[in-house]
Subunit: 384 residues, 4 copies
């Protein structure tokens, strides 16, 4: 079987100083599932041109806005990757879907649940893939965790503990020279709750992904720890999952000394699984008798989804964020192929976060904010 030709992709956003733009570029092209052929790297034309050159895009295919791109690239693209600030996700995504393009969108889906639902519906109506980079779903051992929980290895789920602790806002970054560029600090751009949109939705997705359950209720406190800050930097909440399991979610970017420390632990009736990003290549499964097993990425014992998520199919040679993203891009490509073959289900990429997951994330944010505003009252999360 010869390898399929790469699909044709345009990138929206991602020019320096974007941190995530280069990750998208490397990941999308790593497995040659996509070629990066056109772009709107930045609203700033000069920076966009420089970025486009760095990405190897001919000058003529670097555009200043979406209208220009869509007009000029009609019929020459299969998909777009969007990694712009949150407030523009809705418009870019809508335009791309309306133009018949599949979309890989950096999370969160957008800043408003209704707009999110509209995008999900639009993708559905068009038979297009609208995927989201909840990157932790791209790690092989997260997939393995999900698979083992689904297979009943830990019994019925009782407790889910999920954390996302970072230190990016532990200092007063507002005063730095780059503050103006830091769109995250402006709520009108980053959305109703920075901590929830930026990392809380990751934690929410991870908890649901590994447990295989929707989150149904939340009692939350969402705050700003740093005096004078315009955005939320701390959230802690209790939640219920579909089926009755309980748990706690903590998310903050104001935890000095924490290094992008996302983890999930799921405790069931006969065992538990634990995954932590700082030891991402391992999954620990503990039983009731003081023995735990640790499985390593690359092991032949892994489930199919986890195995597929490693390029280097050997233990001890493991991968990182670029490859996690690349796994999502590979799933994205598989799902596009399925759509082309008339398969409108998501079976070809069951682990890929899609629009509905994004709407669930936005509903989660809305419920958490409502709860926090009501002194922690328990609030139902709307069904996506």
């Amino acid at each position: 079987m010869s390898a399929p030709a790469p699909m044709r992709m345009a990138m929206i956003g991602g020019a320096a100083p974007s941190m995530i733009g280069p990750v998208h570029r490397i990941a999308a092209t790593m497995d040659r599932r996509f070629e990066l052929l056109a772009a709107i790297p930045s609203r700033d034309v000069a920076r966009g041109r420089e970025a486009g050159a760095g990405w190897g895009i001919p000058e003529g295919r670097v555009y200043a806005d979406m209208a220009a791109l869509l007009a000029a690239e009609r019929g020459r693209l299969d998909a777009v990757a969007i990694c712009t600030p949150n407030d523009s996700h809705y418009a870019y995504t809508k335009a791309a879907l309306e133009a018949g393009l599949h979309v890989m969108l950096d999370k969160p889906l957008c800043n408003d649940p209704r707009e999110g639902a509209e995008l999900a519906q639009l993708a559905h109506d068009k038979g297009l893939v609208l995927a989201l980079t909840h990157a932790y779903a791209g790690y092989p051992m997260v997939r393995e965790a999900r698979s083992r929980v689904a297979a009943g290895e830990i019994g019925d789920i009782r407790i889910v503990l999920v954390e996302y602790l970072g230190s990016g806002l532990a200092k007063r970054v507002e005063d730095g020279p780059d503050a103006a560029r830091r769109w995250r600090l402006r709520p009108e751009i980053s959305g109703p709750s920075l901590v929830l949109g930026d990392i809380g939705t990751h934690a929410h997705h991870l908890a649901c992904f590994v447990s295989g359950r929707r989150m149904t209720q939340v009692s939350a406190e969402v705050r700003t720890l740093m005096p004078g800050r315009a955005v939320h930097d701390y959230a802690q909440m209790r939640f219920r999952l579909d089926g009755g399991a309980t748990g706690t979610l903590i998310a903050t970017q104001a935890a000095a000394g924490a290094q992008n420390d996302i983890s999930v632990r799921v405790f069931g009736t006969i065992g538990s699984v634990a995954w932590r990003h700082s030891a991402r290549d391992y999954l620990t499964i503990a039983g009731l008798d003081g023995e735990s097993r640790t499985i390593e990425a690359g092991s032949p014992l892994l489930c199919a989804s986890a195995l597929r998520a490693s390029r280097i199919k050997r233990t001890g040679h493991t991968e990182g964020l670029h490859e996690a993203f690349a796994n999502l891009y590979a799933d994205f490509a598989d799902l596009i192929v399925a759509r082309r073959n008339g398969d409108l289900s998501d079976a070809a990429a069951a682990d890929l976060p899609l629009a509905r997951d994004g709407v669930e994330g936005l509903n989660f944010v809305a419920a958490a904010l409502e709860s926090s505003a009501a002194a922690g009252k328990t609030v139902d999360i709307a069904i996506a």
Copy 2:
């Protein structure tokens, strides 16, 4: 300077199958600060006699009840250690204090905050020491954590995360042959909330001990995860500390695969400290720039209180639960000496959990239960 003679102690409770009785016995005598001379090892006379013989207590000094002990041992004892089921703490402690004996009491102080306050007052009025075995305060690296936080190494405290996850109630122990002996499963003995009294008070104490702050408010959910269980086995809550820091406390004995996993993390404005029981000999202090320091028990860099808490004053030769308890017993002895010398302050053993800490723990339990009963309403914790 020649070593002081051991103080004379009686043990109340602790016969097999008590897990904690032998720990008290070993710890109290390890440093020869106490001699175990009399006992009421069990309400069961035969078991008590057997235990007393195992402890080297002459048969004539093994008693069936407190009245007999106090009558016969008048003037022959300095202190008692009480490690009976929770519902008897009040009466034994009261009797001992009234007889002029210092008391080392297994936590919780008792099952009722008012009775707890009465005991605290009684000890105070009598000039006696009433100490509690919140054992984690006996670990050198917990003391070091407290000392570093107090010294400002992490700046002002923002967040405290404390967990105590165990698996003792992950299985249905109610059905086992020993269920009748498991007084913890009977709320009339173990108190208003098993999970809170048994391990939640440890977590509460640890959070307050390391942060140096009182807990002032709580929004809690306290539950029973195991169907049909008569006692609570799960608690999760948000809290406020005096001065405004926020945090989350999770305590459960129903977490399959968790092994007495108590940990505390304190995040401040310029760094954080983390201690976890499973790596008890280490303290990690992280800064803002991706560098952390790990200090090991036995290091000459430790604070005086932590150094004193190691017998083997070398790194790499570390100690465990017996020694943590022994550190509390050494503090207890020091405080008794101070009282004898007319010092009614607690300065001689600033790290030793005392009656007031116990009352704070009971008030914490009461507030958490009130909050949980009111669907998570935020409740103030009464001041001890």
Copy 3:
């Protein structure tokens, strides 16, 4: 400054089932320092064609042998990447250098120290870069370790302990269906000592790289642990470094349960550094008083070379083997640029393993084999 155009590269070897071929392809193109434009993916023409298509190489630029490639691609290439079995390294590299191409060669340099020296001399005479993928030199925290040792943070070096423990040959792979393809099991291809050529040279390089010292003497035992195996699978040796430090090197692929576990520890007069591949994002530096510091990849505290070796310049978002290789390719590109600018020194990429390092590795192998044949006699390692 606009990004330079990628250099034009051909790949020799790397078709399936090569494990390392895809790593070279991904790494060389990740930062767009190279474009893969031509290839001899395999001696097997059909497999080569399939691989070339998968790599996006036009069919006309996929060749069956080096002569055809060099003839057809004259003036259209800057460099070649060679990742063929060891016995062909010499001929491919020689041909490429003679054609004026820079070479990135999978280690070991070749199977014979004299041929290795000839290649090094040829590259030197031609002013070309001949680099080797000792990939561990591409990890940021290995670079940081080297930098800290060089800066005197651990004082004068006393002891170096280096291990490379793998399990690839723990089972009898000889009997498997793929045995015929496993060229490593045939000494006439893999060279005089499989364990030394395949992983021993990595351990040797890592020890020298981090310590900043040549290895001067060795007393070795090189063996075959698996009965009936035609190649060495175990080596253990004591060594001396230039300047007098001592150490031990252990390398084996027959350690059941070891997962590509390479590590190095360097102990000096006032401290030590430790790096282990299974926790590749961290470097631990211990002092004399029971305190150690752990630095994480992405930290702003890192040296320039380590910082440059992370794409994602944040702690907690770390990278793996592909990126380590990509760092070597970036260095390779920098050094080619330096050569073009008339700089014949290696200053532009001081961390990149070059031909001389490869010759040192071959001399190390030769000395270890000579020592082992003489019952462990101490043997001097020839100077490259």
Copy 4:
């Protein structure tokens, strides 16, 4: 069954500033298997008296020399614990055995293999127990490792790697105010090789204990790394075990930053076990497929010997050096009881290091020194 009365013990040595004396005292009495009734705490009469008082020994039973003790205590003692400097082990042990006392002796057995063999023979002839505190054999997870290896869980043994890295001699302790007291720095007291006698014998014992094999050959380098030091502080060697397995042993007290870091790894044909003192409560068993299991002290899955070696029979509440020593003392008591019952075998305490192990250790030291003096020539280790 009522508990047996403690056996009557005298302690030889152990007064301050001894580090190990208090460990013996706490361990011997922890389980009430022994009572400390008499002592020669120090050759210095005043220090001995002070120490004796601190240990609760009546002044009249504190002696200045062995002759006085044996004369006065005839018929009043069952055993002695000897923890004096190495050069006096022979004479004290011989006198005690001749007086019919069982002996627990701090390792090494003595400084001379012939004297060691004489002591072993004497104990045998008298039917007395002569045990040694190779304390690592007292840790439950070391016993579990031994048991699993013996049960064939890792298949046939191929490789044993053992290390003991400490930092006690990393600084120039010779210049300190305490140097005169540091008998270890005087070879006439500490024996022919400080590093080998002090910690090398521990590493040797651990390797043999876990593997269940004798060490038969060694090729060693034994050195002094610190300029001007009168004793050895570094040893590295290759060895063979009975049955053909190979391995490496490294021992040093001059490794800056190492914290009493003793570890053993045993690799067999189908798996491996690893134990490391810094995580002493855990044993890791790895298989061939990228999965490992970690068992924790206190688990009901442990072998009988490991279970017996925990007082707190629950996971997550683990113990340390005092308890490891106490396990040896408990074994010692069991073996004394067996002897009294006419059982001259060692079956009652199969894990307790005995005189023959001590002779093996001395023979190991002698062979390593002979090898090192002959430039690493392979030397047979004499059979004990």
